[in-house]
Amino acid sequence: MSFAKIEFYGTFDTRHFCDWIGHRAHKLGLTGRIEAASSERITLYVQGQEELLNAMEVACSLGPIDADVSHTNLVFIDPADASDWPNRFQIDVGPEVLADRR
């Protein structure tokens, strides 16, 4: 089991992208948490087999049709620092993004 923090930068409808990410995580059998800071950055904390975390980064680098992802960044995290991670997928959307929602 590996743990990673994946960041996505670009221009997107954050709420839509978050749902899309949740769908992809489910498909790959990953659990974790999304922190959606703004319409220009999404941070994903995710756990699973290393190659599936890579697959997650690859899929999300394209994202939904209305997202323009300019770059991504994946860092693996020491399992010791991830002992309190949730075992299901959860989306934490920041107030800024909620305000964004039309």
């Binding site: 769908h23 498909k27 790959l28 190659e51 890579n54 697959a55 690859v58 899929a59 680098s61 394209l62 994202g63 939904p64 049709i65 323009d68 992802v69």
Partner: protein, 280 residues
């Protein structure tokens, strides 16, 4: 629908060697009928009575239905001294022009589609490689690509770990740089020029610039044709016919990084001719 982006690009429509004096070639480019003719000293391209831009480069004839927004890409290696230039002719494929390019960028299929030639089933692993979208040049690059090949090229014997680079200088062109068996430190280049006939059919014009003075011309062409016939059976059987730019039903992995970067680049530059823009 043909958007401006697709309209204003350059496309290959013939081999330069086809231009015999007095010839008149009928071609279809993005569902429109065009003619290429040669009056003895000059070549012209028309759509009906409308004159189209034309240039002859890399052994092929290039034209555009619109006003090309940028000059035709440069392939410096293709114009180096000492290389054999091999235009392989045309292969008609019932697939999206974008799918033809995507398949050309893919190494993971070598063990199964080009078994015993470009790959072997006991060496299917794809090692990590680098992909970059070069915003300044507006191109996609994949570098540090390595893959086991039982027979890397016509002039290679036995298995090797072959090195590759891939470059996408235009949405319908892909250039492969490949370890040159005859000259260490140099790259052979194999290029796929794609003529979009419609959103779901295309003509593919493979072109090579090699350091290889030994292999007979026909063998080189034959080798490339064999490879491409194998690819064609794949390309004509992928669902959906259009290349999905939001592939909800697909499952890309790290090995598909080039394909995904290519799709991302198409999406960003709004090249939608041959692409599917709804989730599929």
């Amino acid at each position: 629908m043909i958007n401006e982006i697709a309209l204003n690009d350059w496309y290959p429509v013939a081999m330069a060697s086809e231009l015999k004096p007095g010839c008149r070639l009928n071609r279809v480019l993005m569902e429109r009928e065009i003619q290429i003719s040669n009056d003895g000293d000059k070549t012209h391209a028309f759509e009906g009575s409308r004159v189209l831009p034309l240039q002859i480069r890399y052994d092929h004839v290039w034209t555009s239905l619109g006003a090309p927004a940028r000059p035709l890409f440069e392939i410096p290696e293709g114009e180096q001294d000492g290389r054999r230039l091999v235009a392989c002719g045309r292969v008609h494929v019932r697939c999206s022009p974008l799918r033809a390019v995507e398949n050309f960028l893919d190494i993971a299929h070598f063990p199964y589609v080009h078994t015993g030639i470009l790959g072997a089933e006991d060496h299917p692993e794809v090692e990590r490689y680098d992909v970059e979208i070069d915003d300044e040049k507006d191109e996609v690059w994949a570098r540090q690509v390595k893959f086991f090949q039982p027979q890397a090229a016509k002039s290679a014997e036995g298995g090797i770990m072959a090195d590759y680079m891939y470059r996408v200088p235009a949405p319908t062109t892909s250039i492969l740089y490949k370890t040159c068996p005859a000259r260490v430190g140099e790259w052979d280049i194999i290029t796929l020029f794609v003529q979009p006939v419609s959103e779901t059919t295309c003509d593919v014009w493979p072109w090579m610039a090699l350091y290889d003075d030994e292999t007979p011309f026909n063998d080189l062409v034959q080798f490339q044709q064999t490879i491409f016939m194998q690819d064609r059976s794949i390309l004509e059987n992928q669902i959906p016919a259009l290349l999905p730019l939001d592939p909800k039903m697909e499952t890309p992995t790290r090995a598909d990084l080039t394909s995904i970067a290519y799709r991302r680049w198409l999406k960003r530059r709004r090249m939608f001719y041959g692409a599917q823009t709804i989730a599929a």
